[in-house]
């Protein structure tokens, strides 16, 4: 084994197979491959994969008859841009909370309660996220341009006075809108938010049968993560496929903004 070549990493091998290395580095890797047949076989396999994948999809790089209509929007109903406003932070509120200033301390300091709602809340939040965050044209019933109506309507259905829709602009998530949906068999609310790249979050709010409160809890399923908590008569869940620390910031911001 050549000492000079001892620093060849797997990343170098990928970069070699992908043709991403300058000439000098290529020569170094080639010398390494001469002495390391296993790595040489790996690189050969990757190169073959690359060529086959490119050949598989190359024929799709073509124009189609409807392309001009597609970009001029003539295929779409007239009001489509508005309906596309798409962001998905869904907030599920679990029930109306008699949550006045009693809970002054942060959620993380609160004692945990064992409540049956705790089991259903993250699942329902996750399901709502899976169903609605993927919707391109109808992610919500009421879009953000009617935010006041959205708050009044959902507040009425959940019997929450002065329901406010959390503002997550500081975390770079814009409101897409919201919808009514069943949470634990009762009317619940979902708010959806979206960042600039189209990544969505949802915030669910639902009624909680037992008055009580919990700390933030965390549930993860696949890549979908949920923060949830119960605050008095309401349960909340923030769900998304984003980094956990981002989601936690969103959860804390929602907690801060929801009426208590």
């Amino acid at each position: 084994m050549n000492e000079i070549n001892q620093t060849v990493t797997e990343a170098d091998l990928h970069a070699y197979a992908d043709g991403r290395l300058p000439e000098q580095a290529r020569a170094r890797i080639e010398a390494w491959l001469n002495d390391n047949p296993d790595d040489a076989a790996k690189v050969a396999e990757w190169s073959t994969q690359n060529a086959e994948i490119r050949s598989l999809f190359a024929p799709y790089e073509r124009s189609a008859d409807g392309d001009a209509a597609l970009v001029t929007g003539s295929r779409q109903p007239a009001n489509w841009p508005k309906r596309l406003a798409a962001a998905a932070v869904v907030i599920v509120v679990f029930g109306l909370g008699a949550v006045s200033g009693y809970y002054g301390s942060t959620l993380f300091e609160k004692p945990d309660l064992q409540l049956t709602e705790l089991e259903t809340l993250p699942n329902e939040a996750r399901n709502a996220f899976l169903i609605y965050a993927g919707e391109v044209r109808h992610p919500v019933e009421v879009f953000a341009d009617e935010e006041a109506h959205l708050a009044t309507w959902l507040g009425k259905r959940l019997a929450i006075q002065n329901l406010r829709v959390p503002n997550l602009q500081e975390l770079a998530f814009k409101l897409v809108g919201g919808r009514l949906l069943p949470v634990d068999g009762r009317p619940g609310a979902m708010f959806m938010y979206e960042d600039q790249a189209g990544e969505r979050l949802t915030v669910l709010v639902g009624r909680n049968a037992n008055n009580g409160s919990t700390s933030f809890r965390f549930a993860s399923s696949g890549n979908v993560e949920t923060f949830y908590w119960i605050d008095g008569e309401l349960g909340y869940a923030v769900t998304g496929e984003v980094k956990r620390d981002v989601l936690r910031k969103v959860a804390e911001e929602c907690y801060r903004q929801f009426p208590s």
């Binding site: 990928h14 994948i53 124009s63 001009a68 841009p81 391109v136 790249a197 189209g198």
Partner: protein, 171 residues
């Protein structure tokens, strides 16, 4: 039907459509799914044109498409190991030289997670550097490398496993 001017936003998107079509198909399991993703992406891009900062339009659009793809896969409930589409669904003027091999490759690609698949396709099909992938998907470059590595390993395993079945244990 009116044709958008070359310098208009629509005209620029129109010029990108062939390569966007290739990328959307490389992420999906069928021609129909590829066209759906492409159309959803164009709708979204037109609706958000105000957010484009005037640089690297293609990169901006590919990132939006990748996010749409990941959102859409959630909706279908994640069935990463189901192989849905075979070579007869490929409508192409130039049929691949070895339809069987291409069909097996598609099956192997369909077994990837959407995260690995998007990284692999950005690198292999779209020619992104690893750093460009990291930036586009907002993930660390180490994550790019590990997803790329996982994708290649899995494809290799699938292709080899299929060989074993074909050669030694025909059904």
């Amino acid at each position: 039907m009116k044709t958008p001017g070359q310098d208009s936003f629509e005209g620029k998107i129109l010029a990108l459509l062939p390569s966007l079509r290739r990328y959307s198909r490389s992420l999906t399991r069928s021609d129909a799914d590829g066209e759906d993703l492409l159309q959803d992406c164009v709708e979204k891009v037109l609706a958000r044109r105000g957010q484009w900062r005037g640089l690297n339009l293609r990169g901006w659009v590919l990132t939006i498409m990748t996010n749409l793809y990941r959102n859409g896969r959630r909706q279908t409930g994640r069935a990463p190991f189901v192989e849905l589409v075979s070579s007869e669904d490929i409508v192409s003027m130039d049929p691949p030289p070895d339809p069987l091999e291409h069909s097996r490759l598609e099956d192997a690609l369909n077994s990837l997670s959407e995260q690995s698949r998007s990284v692999l396709m950005l690198v292999v099909v779209e020619g992104y550097t690893y750093q460009e992938v990291a930036t586009a998907l907002d993930i660390p470059i180490g994550t790019v490398m590990s997803r790329l590595s996982r994708a290649r390993q899995r494809i290799g395993e699938r292709m080899k496993a299929d060989n074993v079945i074909t050669l030694r244990r025909p059904k």
